[in-house]
Subunit: 205 residues, 2 copies
DNA sequence: ACCTGAACACCGTTCAAGT
DNA sequence: ACCTGAACACCGTTCAAGT
């Protein structure tokens, strides 16, 4: 077999296979993706440019099938919560992909659309123009971090009881990874909304 | 040469070499570390266990030579600012190391000491016990994210002007990477302090 | 146009062998 | 105890060759 009548390969199949591997093992490789599809390793280069390209395609997949509910009726703080949650949920569906994303720049346009909505909402909040970029960055850190938390093992710091009393008290109420990640994200989101409110109110004086 | 009278190798030399490589190239490898020290690749395994071990040793290095000023006299919000800045500055000295750190759990005890100080300060702020863990996680996200920002290229989203007006306005005031990272961190820190204040005040009602 | 197979320059880790 | 060199099972990427 050299040139089949209908192509054996598609970009979609490559991204599918890579995403399955990342979900299962935390990483992917060309040999494994190729084996999973049943094609030779070098054939992948007919559809994609390189490893980075596959990662960027996976990032796009995270947000492509996301439905954002209408935000018109909502006050800015509710709208902001919806958007930041949607952003976090995108990452949280494939948490083991996040470490591969952080060392690479965003190129996907679907993600940029989500950013635009967040920027609009922050303008509605009354945040001054110079603070909107920094606010989006902060939201980025929160969403990425909260998703990363999902990949962490059950106990994070495991502080020696006697030496670090305050930390020991804080981690004593230990739950599942999911509960801990959700609690951290919920707290971060509350802090964000409260902080943006305070920042925005400074504009009125 | 097989067994030299005094060892050619030390853990310190390995961590030094790996850190230089990460700073310069964003990654390190056993062959490159060994070549830089002038020793064979397999000799490294006399001092360290594996690749993860080297990464964890580099994480420790970030905070080992950090001097934290005394916090006794300070109000909780000032103290919190000092600690979170110290945490961020630790990462910021070797920003290209951060992507290697995010997929691995914290084992270094110097870092845990910093966490303890933050936990104490959050207790002083009046934050309820159940919120201290989530608050530390949020601080983690902020510090890691702000350091990651330093590795990003100059333009992050580069939004097509017409299609994403709000985002275009927000990114129009573009500065250097360092300025942008600092602005984002400063905003995030303000939001954090304001948010913690709001959260803590709920305990008084 | 679309695939295979071989080739190349890289990895991390193990292990027998030397002193 | 401490090092070397060879070996192994992996990588990402390129390219000539086939239809």
């Amino acid at each position: 077999m050299a040139r089949p009548p209908s192509p054996l390969l598609s970009v979609e199949a490559i991204v599918d296979a890579a995403l399955v591997l990342v979900d299962e093992t935390g990483d992917f490789s060309f040999p494994k993706v190729a084996r999973r599809i049943g094609v030779s390793q070098s054939a992948l280069y007919n559809r994609i440019d390189n490893r980075e390209h596959i990662i960027e395609l996976m990032r796009g997949r995270l947000f492509s099938d996301q439905v954002i509910p209408p935000l018109e009726g909502l006050p800015w703080d509710e709208a902001l919560r919806v958007l930041v949650r949607a952003y976090r949920d995108g990452f949280a569906e494939h948490p083991r992909l996040v470490p591969l994303l952080v060392s690479q720049t965003v190129q996907d346009l679907g993600v940029v659309g989500l950013y635009e909505n967040i920027a609009i909402t922050l303008e509605r909040a009354g945040l001054e123009q110079a603070h909107i970029g920094p606010a989006i960055a902060t939201i980025d850190y929160l969403a990425l971090g909260a998703a990363l938390e999902l990949t962490a093992p059950a106990v994070v710091w495991s502080p020696p009881a006697g030496e670090f009393p305050a930390l020991h008290r804080a981690t004593a109420l230990s739950e599942s990874v999911e509960q801990r990640a959700e609690a951290a994200f919920a707290f971060g989101l509350d802090v964000l909304v409260a902080g943006v409110r305070v920042k925005a109110s400074h504009n009125f004086f």
